[in-house]
Subunit: 202 residues, 2 copies
DNA sequence: ATAATTACTGACTCATGAGTCAGCAAAAGT
DNA sequence: ACTTTTGCTGACTCATGAGTCAGTAATTAT
């Protein structure tokens, strides 16, 4: 019976701790999460956590950044395929993407940002640059292309890109607050695409 | 020099404390707010707070309920005036209402619910019944009336009422998270009304 | 085998903040 | 005036949880 109390795995620890921390923060929020809990989840002592992350706040920031780059990149990446007409694109890949987000970890990041964002302005800025600005830019580019191709009316350029994502954000909020009151978020998002196409189409 | 250390104002204290608490919660969130701070803001000792509210959580709930009934009632009340055509109503009172909300204390309540709601299910239920359900019901009733009057197409009845409020919620979120990145929320809300009218009109 | 290195542990300190309560002072009663 | 009642105070206790660090055990070097 070789009773190893632990293995040394310097390489994997940071990622494991960050993953455990994300779970914990997602469930209980930042303030209500104890570093001890995170450590327990990661199968590690509290002290080790402090070896890899100087403070609880550092851990928080690392987690957000990690989730953001990992998940959002893969999601936004899929949006760049463009062999389709504007309508096909909106009803296809765009719709799929929008439907996915409210069920993805990005939704949890939104909660954390709403709840604790004011205390971490640099984090908010990071999130804005890497997610929001890129996303809005992509939408704007898409609309411009539609106009150039003659698939959209010229007035389309005046629409704020936030109109495209409003129902997705509403869906996220709804799921976060009223988890037990069901809402057909897919339907909501689809209706908005209908409205937009009706208005944009030549 | 009559040196009164304090005046006894049993009647006003609860409201004053609740108001101070709302300010504090709005600024820092529930967890990060110290009861001592609330007392200081209200010009009162910490002990007195506990005389009127058994625990910090009680105080929190009282504050939410207070804000909700006070403000939302007055806001939703103004929506019941109905001597207008559906389009006039949407472009008039409805639009005004929607534009007001993101700047009102209701926005802060949303933040508090997102951040701490999971720990207070009864509070969420209360908010749903007294704000969300009533609001959605009002919208549904409005659409039905529009159809009866022949001002809206029959398909209007299939639209989820959340479509009417999505840009308002987006505006709230945006202001909460990206306070420094301006967004013309009035414009956003107005565009959505345009989209809806275009789609609903006979 | 033995020594040197270092990833890791867990019991500790210390600051913070929720909740208490004995006593004080302002108003009301006599 | 002076007694009684009670709204109010602020110093206290006590639990919690962030962050530390001396020591331990798993590797690696010799």
């Amino acid at each position: 019976m070789s009773q190893q109390k632990y293995q040394r795995r310097k390489e994997d620890r940071p990622a494991e701790i960050a993953a455990a921390a994300f779970e914990a923060f997602a469930e209980k929020g930042y303030a209500a999460t104890r570093v001890d809990d995170v450590a327990k989840r990661a199968g590690v002592s509290k002290g080790l956590t402090y070896l890899y992350y100087k403070t609880k706040e550092d851990l928080f920031k690392a987690v957000i950044r990690d989730v953001v780059v990992r998940r959002v990149d893969s999601l936004i990446g899929g949006i760049e395929s463009t062999a389709l007409t504007s309508e096909e694109f909106l009803r296809g890949p765009f719709l799929d993407f929008m439907k996915k987000v409210p069920r993805s970890p990005v939704a949890v990041v939104v909660r954390l940002l709403v709840a604790e964002g004011w205390r971490h302005p640099d984090l908010v800025a990071y999130y804005y640059d890497n997610v929001v600005a890129r996303g809005l830019g992509a939408i704007r580019g898409f609309v411009e292309r539609g106009v150039e191709r003659g698939e959209f009316r010229r007035e389309a350029l005046d629409l704020q890109p936030q109109l495209f994502i409003a129902p997705m954000l509403t869906s996220i909020l709804w799921r976060l607050i009223f988890t037990e009151k069901p809402l057909d978020t897919d339907q909501l998002i689809e209706s908005q695409v209908d409205l937009l196409l009706e208005h944009l189409a030549t």
